[in-house]
């Protein structure tokens, strides 16, 4: 299988605090990789580096065979068109309606689209996430789950090859979490995307992950299928599992 993301010996620190320390992982075409870890272990930092929002201190990151080290702004923007980023708090533009939110990246990146083509793209993507009725609403009028869906729709409108989900189920009720997990799987099937899903929700990891990688102390200590990883007797893995499935 082709590698779409390659992370080699990645280091990142903020001040005196080391966040990523010699992190290594690959993402293969068509797979959903779930990155698990406790809060503050650098999960979000990892995908922000992949999206070019943060710079790595050391190491190499390759996305679709293009290294992000010393990449020009123009090349980075061209690469970003192939990456969809779903933010933890959806990051919808407050001052715009759902339709304007969805049009925003489209009209600025694909020139000479007719009004009809734009409307069709917005219509199609809203239908994919099941929120066609919200087209004229403002983000403040949407529920948390609806905001997540619109956030995902805004990235899907550009037909990305890679999806990066930052805590897709954080702050949602259990039913909505199930719906979001289903949506992530539907996106993979319909848009043929490869994804990294950052979460500490093991139900989400189990539902959407083809492969799971666990971040501890800045590097990936465990990788494999959900069952393989959580069969491990390591106390750190056990405490993570117990917290999610026993204490909750």
């Amino acid at each position: 299988m082709n590698k779409v993301i390659e992370i080699e010996h990645l280091y990142k620190s903020f001040g005196d605090r080391d966040i990523l320390v010699d992190a290594n992982i690959d993402v293969y075409q068509g797979e959903n990789l779930v990155v698990l870890g406790r809060s503050g272990t650098g999960k979000s930092v990892l995908i922000k580096i992949i999206a070019g929002l943060l710079m790595a201190d050391k190491g190499n990151v390759k996305v679709l065979n293009q290294s992000l080290i010393n990449i020009s702004k123009k090349e980075l923007n061209a690469l970003r068109l192939k990456i969809g980023f779903s933010f933890q708090n959806s990051a919808l533009y407050d001052s715009m309606t759902v339709q304007e939110n969805l049009e925003f990246p489209l009209v600025r990146n694909i020139k000479n689209m007719s009004r009809k083509e734009i409307d069709k793209a917005v219509h199609d993507v809203l239908e994919s996430v099941g929120l066609l009725q919200a087209i004229h609403q403002m983000p403040s009028e949407l529920s948390g789950g609806q905001k997540k869906r619109i956030g995902i729709a805004r990235t899907l409108i550009m037909n990305p090859e890679i999806m990066l989900y930052d805590e897709p189920t954080a702050g949602l009720d259990p039913i909505t979490c199930i719906e979001i997990n289903e949506l992530i799987n539907e996106v993979k099937e319909k848009y043929h995307t490869s994804s990294i899903i950052i979460t500490h929700d093991l139900t989400c990891a189990k539902e959407v992950g083809d492969r799971v990688a666990v971040l501890f102390d800045g590097s990936f200590k465990f990788q494999g299928t959900f069952e393989e990883v959580f069969k491990d007797k390591d106390p750190r893995i056990k405490s993570f599992y117990d917290y999610n499935f026993i204490e909750n």
Binding site: G15, G52, R80, F85, D94, F104, R108, N109
Partner: protein, 259 residues
């Protein structure tokens, strides 16, 4: 592991870093302002928001300033029997100093805080990051449009403020003396020269740019959640006003060399 060593002292270091960041931000603004793909629709939207949000307050403040300034100056001039100089005296004060300064101080409070809070909120809720990852230049969309809108709109508001102030002067003069509109206008603009108008325009443009760029800089660099948004809005107002007063002194000194 990395840690920054202080060069001089933490306070001076931070000030120098802040100064460099500000200069970089201004350079980034100019780079993007002259690039292709100008966001014209957003620029017009921002012009409308700035103008519309300040119009009532500027009308009232301008009118009251003109009226009260005339009323307060009258007793002193009456002592010398020089009340006929009132329209000319107050008009000079309004055009040279009061209109641009009053307008910009109102806008620093109303527009500067609004830009700082809006961009600050967008920053802490990752909306600016969302623009960046979708390959849209947030400086071009958010900063260039707002700074240019305030640079263009504040001079227009300043001109409007001057008109409202002169209306206040006219009301006070007509209620106390027998005069008509054309005589008032003739007296009022008798001593106004082109340099006064140019000075007023330069001041208003400089203040408008300052309010826009400071609001955007503070908002764009906000951090620490809602607390950071409040701080950004507050810092936008304080820093804009501080810079406006410095610019006022500087521009007055420079233009006085040409008189």
């Amino acid at each position: 592991m990395s840690s920054r060593q202080n060069l001089i002292s933490p306070k001076i270091d931070n000030w120098l870093i802040g100064f460099k960041d500000g200069a970089d931000f201004i350079a980034m603004f100019f780079k993007e302002a002259f690039s292709r793909d100008f966001e014209f629709k957003e620029f017009i939207n921002q012009c409308y928001r700035i103008g519309n949000s300040s119009l009532v307050l500027i009308s009232l403040t301008g009118f009251v300033t003109g009226f009260v300034f005339t009323k307060q100056s009258r007793p002193s001039l009456e002592t010398f029997g020089a009340t006929s100089w009132l329209p000319s005296l107050v008009t000079i004060a309004v055009i040279r100093a009061l209109a641009p300064l009053v307008t910009s101080l109102i806008c620093a409070g109303k527009v500067g805080s609004s830009i700082g809070a809006e961009l600050g909120s967008m920053k802490v809720t990752e909306q600016i990051d969302a623009m960046e990852v979708s390959a849209v230049n947030p400086v071009r969309f958010l900063v260039v449009t707002r700074v240019l809108a305030s640079t263009v709109t504040i001079p227009l508001l300043s001109f409007y403020c001057a008109l409202m102030a002169l209306a206040g002067v006219f009301l006070n003069v007509t209620t106390n003396e027998e005069t008509n509109f054309s005589a008032f206008v003739e007296q009022a603009f008798n001593n106004i020269i082109f340099l006064d108008l140019w000075t007023a325009i330069i001041k208003a443009v400089a203040y408008g740019f300052t309010i826009g760029i400071v609001g955007c800089y503070k908002g764009y660099n906000a951090s620490n959640g809602t607390l950071g948004v409040g701080k950004a809005a507050n810092a936008s107002v304080v820093m804009s006003m501080f810079l406006i007063f410095i610019e006022e002194v500087f521009i007055v000194q420079v233009t006085n060399w040409f008189r």
